[in-house]
């Protein structure tokens, strides 16, 4: 990481610290996850019981849509019905566990805690309240709940060997997505509410100073990779140090990350696995993912700045502000501030929020624009070349067509030459032999005919007979006859 980004990150962390000190002392989720904290701070026995009562209503049984089994509200009833004990009072069967209802968190406390603990605008009680909302509960059998254990829903859904039916997988996926959306919405609203309260207590500068560098850093890293100045691996390591997932990169990104990544985490596709195996990398990319379509529309002039912001949503817009330029920074900021202000002080706080938001937007625009605007050109140039393989394939196709045609032509030409040569050869040999045989009979012996016939055959090899006539033959009779074999 270079000096600037080091400073930026350090500054961000300091500002976060300052903010925590100046603001509501209850904010900030207890960082350490253990059994005691879980029980005391975040789990809710009452919430689970209330939910169970709500689901069962005035009935004692409930059909589990995932397992399709009948579940009993009362553990004792299930144990009696499925004969847990024999007549001597000994435990002999565990079948009851598949029919005893329990309330389960769809999104496990630990999984969400891993992400939410970085959000400085949430408290333990916020976390408890949201995590124990009805949207994050479901009824499972004790057996299924135990066997699922710490596994995430996506792991269970995508595990081909767990014997789960397709319908059950679909049901579980629906519950998971529904819960994700609901929780993210709740966390986002609560964050904005708490941020609004922080504005009210005069901490707006701190927010600007902390959130902007972190957001800027995420975009800056993305641009560096897009420009080919850094590898994803390096960017990921450095982003890990900067803790990009504070505030703005927290909730919404995680939702997109979950739905896109979870299903494909086990995919063998090279593109996906390269990203899915690194949360930091995924965070960087998510910054771009949230805004990409709207950014393209904005660049193409299909939507104006306001529509762009409406499309992308507050958080996505904040992140990409710099990619579009400082001119709409204020617009983004006004909306961001407006929402925060409205939540904090309905009717009155909006104006103040807009002012604060404008500060955010303008600073954000200025900071990110410096690194992002040049990069966007590079992004589009590089993207254009992503289809180069098609060009290559088309060149190879053209070359193949040309090669096959030309090679076939040459082959035809060659075959025709061979045919012609062989025909000539056959005719000359035949004629030569005909001459020899017709002249060689004793009665009609014609020495010249025999010699000419032989000469005709030898002519095929560029040779001629040793003696053309008797004079030549007789002239050498006193000399040795030289032959080589």
């Amino acid at each position: 990481m270079n000096k600037d980004s080091d400073n930026m990150a350090t500054e961000a962390m300091k500002n976060l610290g300052m903010m925590e000190q100046q603001a509501n002392s209850n904010l900030g989720i207890t960082y350490e996850y253990n059994e005691e904290n879980r029980r005391k701070l975040w789990d809710s026995k009452k919430g689970k019981e209330d939910y169970k009562d709500k689901v069962f209503g005035d009935k004692e049984t409930y059909v589990d849509p995932i397992s399709g089994k009948v579940l009993h509200r009362s553990k004792k009833a299930a144990q009696n019905k499925y004969h847990m004990k024999n007549s001597e009072g000994e435990n002999t069967s565990t079948k009851w566990a598949a029919h005893s209802a329990e309330t389960d968190h769809i999104n496990a406390l630990k999984d969400v805690h891993d992400v939410a603990k970085h959000n400085p605008f949430l408290s333990d009680s916020d976390f408890k309240e949201i995590m124990n909302s009805d949207e994050n509960y479901r009824i499972l059998s004790k057996k299924d709940n135990t066997s699922k254990g710490e596994q995430s829903d996506w792991k269970v859904i995508t595990d081909k060997n767990n014997g789960m039916s397709s319908e059950a997988r679909v049901q579980m996926a629906k519950e998971k997505i529904g819960s994700d959306i609901a929780l993210q919405g709740k966390f986002a609203v609560r964050t904005v509410e708490n941020v609004g309260k922080e504005f009210a207590t005069g901490a707006k500068d701190t927010l600007v100073k902390s959130a902007i560098p972190l957001t800027a850093e995420a975009v800056r890293k993305l641009c560096k990779v897009a420009n080919g100045e850094e590898s994803l691996g390096d960017a990921a390591k450095e982003m890990g140090k900067v803790v990009v997932d504070v505030a703005v990169a927290g909730g919404t990104n995680k939702l997109v990350l979950d739905v896109v990544n979870s299903q494909l985490r086990n995919s063998k596709n090279a593109v996906f696995s390269k990203f899915a195996n690194s949360n930091q990398v995924a965070q960087i990319v998510t910054v771009a993912m949230i805004v990409k379509e709207s950014a393209v529309k904005y660049i193409n002039g299909e939507i104006d700045g306001k529509e762009f912001i409406e499309e992308v949503g507050v958080k996505g817009a904040t992140m990409v502000a710099g990619m579009i330029g400082g001119s709409i920074g204020g617009e983004i900021g006004a909306i961001l501030g407006g929402i925060a202000g409205t939540v904090a002080l309905p009717g009155v706080g909006t104006a103040a929020g807009v002012v604060a938001g404008k500060v955010i937007g303008e600073v954000l625009g200025t900071i990110i624009t410096t690194v992002a605007c040049s990069a966007i050109v590079s992004v589009y140039n590089t993207s254009k070349h992503l289809n180069d393989y098609k060009l290559k394939e088309s060149q190879i196709r053209k070359l193949e067509t040309e090669a096959l045609k030309e090679m076939e032509n040459q082959r035809d030409k060659f075959k025709s030459i061979v045919e012609r040569e062989h025909k000539y050869w056959d005719e000359e040999i035949q004629n030569g032999f005909n001459m020899i045989l017709s002249s060689a009979c004793e009665q009609t012996f014609n020495l010249q005919g025999v010699t000419d016939g032989l000469d005709k055959i030898l002519a095929l090899f560029g040779k001629s007979v040793a003696f053309k006539n008797l004079d030549e033959y007789e002239a050498q009779l006193d000399m040795p006859l030289k032959l080589s074999f």
Binding site: S231, K292, A295, L386
Partner: protein, 268 residues
């Protein structure tokens, strides 16, 4: 709501793309298998033609050897009665040399393997920004399929070159058979002429100058056939300066040029 809608849309799109990508990967694998099968067929075609041509060349060599070892001594035995013969031994007919000579002419160049290029980090990030996860997954598979298609096209060119080489081998084998047939026919003529010469010498004695023109003609013909046999045995099956060979070289060179171009394009 926009983000939620995006999320659900992204999930559906991702499922669709994963499926599409998987199908393309399967198709690419099949295509690669077919391409390698085609290359294998090309090599087999050349190997079979080469083996067949080897046999035909060996046949020529056998005929030459039989003439040198059986008919020529008969001639020497008969004709040396009337004229001294200086017999020079040529380098032995080397069948392997003949074969190697032919094989130099027709060799099937190796096929380059078309490998899918993985996205660079830069391409990945830029692609994700402009096209998204799902599309990039599809593109990755499209690249794989494209590489497989290129492999198939390269294999087609290799097969075409194998056909050209096969045509050369066919021509050589056909020519070898013609030389074999000629040698057999000439050998029959030679034997008959040697027998006729033997009878003539037996009838007229050893002073050829006292022979009739007809009898001198019989002897002259026998010597001419002997010299012709020497010349024919000397002639290579493949005449490097002949029109067939020149045309074959041109055809093979054209194929090699295209194969080289194809290999470069595939590796690029």
């Amino acid at each position: 709501m926009i983000i939620e809608a995006l999320a659900v849309g992204a999930l559906a799109r991702t499922f669709y793309s994963a499926d599409k990508s998987l199908k393309m990967d399967e198709k690419a694998l099949k295509k690669y298998a077919k391409a390698f099968e085609r290359s294998e067929e090309a090599e087999l075609l050349v190997r079979k033609k080469a083996e067949f041509t080897d046999k035909r060349l060996m046949n020529v060599a056998k005929k030459k050897r039989a003439i040198v070892q059986s008919t020529v001594p008969k001639f020497v035995d008969v004709y040396s009665q009337i004229q001294k013969i200086e017999l020079e031994n040529k380098t032995k007919v080397n069948e392997i040399a003949i074969r190697d000579n032919v094989r130099k002419l027709a060799v099937l160049d190796a096929l380059s393997v078309s490998v899918k290029k993985d996205f660079t980090d830069k391409e990945l990030v830029c692609g994700l920004i402009t096209k998204g996860f799902a599309k990039m997954m599809e593109m990755d598979s499209e690249r794989y399929l494209s590489a497989a298609n290129s492999q198939m096209r390269a294999a087609n060119v290799v097969y075409s070159q194998a056909e050209s080489i096969g045509a050369v081998y066919d021509a050589i084998a056909a020519h070898a058979d013609r030389i074999s047939n000629l040698l057999m026919a000439m050998n029959a003529l030679f034997i008959r002429s040697i027998n006729e010469t033997s009878l003539t010498i037996e009838k007229n004695g050893l002073d050829v100058r006292n022979y009739s023109a007809y009898d001198k003609g019989v002897l002259m013909t026998c010597v001419n056939i002997a010299a012709a046999m020497s010349d024919i045995i000397d002639v290579p099956v493949v005449d490097e300066k002949g029109q067939i060979c020149e045309s074959a070289m041109e055809m093979i060179a054209t194929g090699e040029k295209y194969l080289e171009k194809m290999n470069q394009a595939v590796k690029a």
